[in-house]
Symmetry: D2
Subunit: 168 residues, 4 copies
C-alpha cells in the first residue's frame, strides 16, 4: 500500500524562526497521522526541522538529497534518496509528494512551488510574504492555498483528508 | 572558444502574441550578434518563436528537449539536446545559458526563473505582469531586470555587452 | 538513523523464472533483517518480485520510478519516488543503495551495474551468464562479486554484515 | 534543419594512447563531414581528444558537462551544456547522439553503451578488449558493431551514411 507522503519545502540557511517552527509542527503532525515526511534532506533550515518534528514523533522520514556528501545529511533522516543532481532534485521532491507544504521562501523553494504546479499538486503556502502569495495565487489559483501558520495548514489537512486522499 | 549562449524562456501554448513577438525579436537579435539561441526546443510558444527568429537570421539554435518525441521538436532547431527528463530539463536550460531572457510567464517559466537564481544568472523579464515583476525583484534584486519589451532588453544586451561577457 | 537500503536490480519483462525467484528471496531476506528494499518500482520482472518478497515479509519497500504513471507502479510499493527521468533514474537507484544486488541482466540493468562502480558500491551479481561476469569482474574487480544463486548472496550478506555496515 | 550529431565516448584519465588517437581521428572525420561532435565535455581523455580533432578541423563541438566548474571544461568546446547531474548526464550524452562511437572503456563509458541500447542507438566499439566486445555483442547484437580502429569505424560511417541518416 502506498504510504501518504507529505513534502515539506522551505529555505535552508535563510529560514526564519517562524519558518522553522512551522516546519517542525508540520513534521510532527504528519508523524502522528502515520504519514511520511519528505524534504530536501539536508541538515539545515526547513528541511531539517520538518524531519526533526517527524522523527521526534516516531514518523518515517525521507530526504531527496542533492549530493552524496554524508556530512550534509540531516540527522533525522531514515531514508536518503541520493540524486547527485544539485537543484535538479527539486523536481523529484515535489513529484514524490502527495501534497506540498511550504514554510517560507527562497529561490530553491520558489522553484519547487513552480515545478509542483504542472503535475497538479495541491500546494499550501504557510506564512509567506504578501508578494509571494499574490504571485502564486495568480499563477495557479486552483492549486495554491495561502495560510498564516502551521495550525491553519493542519486544520486544512485534517478537514480535507478525503480530498487529499484523491490527490495521489 | 565557448560561444555566447542566450536562453530564451517563456510559455508554450499560453504565450500571448506579444510574448511571441518579443521571443522572435530576441532570437533574431542574438543571431545577428553571432550568439547562440537556446530554448526548451518544442514546436510551440516562446520556445519555437525564439528559435524561428534566430534561424531566419542565420543563427545557431539549440533546444534542450523534455522527451525524444520528434514530432514535438521545433522546425527551427539545429541541435536537439535530448534529456527524457520532462520538466527536470528546465534546470539544464538555465545552467547552460549565459543570460536568461524571459518572454511571458507560466509555471514552467517561473521554475526556470527560480532555478536560474542560485547559479547567479542575470535574468531579464520582458513584459511580465506586475505581480511577477514584484515577486522576482524581491526574491533576487541584483539578478532580475524588468523591462517592457524586447527593444529595452536588446538595448540592455547591447550596452551591457562587457558585463555580459563576464557573466559566463 | 539511516536505514540500511538494499538495491535489487534486474530485467523487467525479460527476467527468467530463476531471476524472479532470486529477487523474491533477496527481498524476503532484507525484510527479515529489517533492511529496506529499493528497486526501479515497476510492476514487472525483478523490480516487482523483490518488492513482493520484501512486502510479504513485512519489509519496507521503495521504488524509484521512471514516470508518474500509476498503472505501472508495483502493488508491493510503500514509497514511490517519482523522477519523470526515464532511464535517467537508474543512477539514483544505485546511488541510494548501500549495496546493489543484481538478478539477471538486460541493458537497463547493465547501466545500473556500470553506474554503481564509480560511487564505490559493492555489487553482487547473481546467476549472470559467464560473459557478463567476466566483463564486470575485469571492469571493477574489487567491487564485483559473482555468485550462483540467492542463497550464496544471502550467505555473503550475513557474513559480511560488518563490512556492509561500513559501506554506507 | 537538425544537424547530424556524433557522440564520442570513452575513458577520461585511464584512456590509452590508442584510445586518444582514435578519438581524435573520429572528431576530425566528423568535422570534415560537417557533422557535430558531442562528448562529455571535460578536458581529459577521449572527451577532450575528440573535441580537439573536431575543432582543429573547423567542426562544431558540444560537451554535456557533469558540473559547471569551468576549469574542467575542454578548451575545444563550442557549446557547453551544463547539467550539474554528475554521471546522470551520461544518459543525455547518448540520447542526444545520432550514433555513439566508443573509444576504449571504463565504468562511465560502459554505462553510456548500456544506456544507448534501449533508445535504439547504433553503437560502434573501437578497439575494446575481447571481453567487452563479447559482452555487448551478446547484450544487443543488432546495435553493436565492433571494429579494430578508427579507420574501420570511418569506413562504416562513410558506407552506411544512408542508413545513418535514417537512424535519427
Amino acid at each position: 500500500m502506498l504510504k501518504k507522503i507529505i513534502g515539506v519545502m522551505g529555505p535552508g540557511s535563510s529560514a526564519s524562526k517562524t519558518d522553522l517552527k512551522n516546519a517542525y509542527e508540520i513534521g510532527a503532525f504528519c508523524a502522528k497521522k502515520g504519514w511520511v515526511t519528505l524534504t530536501g534532506g539536508r541538515n539545515k533550515g526547513v528541511m531539517n526541522e520538518a524531519l526533526k518534528g517527524a522523527k521526534e514523533n516516531n514518523g518515517l522520514t525521507i530526504g531527496v538529497l542533492p549530493t552524496d556528501e554524508k556530512e550534509l545529511f540531516s540527522d533525522f533522516l531514515d531514508i536518503p534518496i541520493i540524486t547527485n543532481m544539485s537543484s535538479g532534485r527539486n523536481y523529484i521532491n515535489v513529484l514524490s509528494s502527495d501534497i506540498v507544504i511550504v514554510c517560507g521562501i527562497d529561490s530553491g523553494t520558489s522553484s519547487e512551488i513552480s515545478l509542483a504546479i504542472k503535475p497538479g499538486k495541491k500546494i499550501i503556502l504557510i506564512g509567506l510574504y504578501e508578494e509571494a502569495n499574490t504571485f502564486y495565487k495568480k499563477l495557479a489559483p486552483e492549486q495554491i492555498l495561502c495560510v498564516k501558520n502551521s495550525k491553519e495548514a493542519i486544520d486544512f489537512l485534517e478537514k480535507e483528508n478525503d480530498i487529499l486522499r484523491t490527490l495521489k
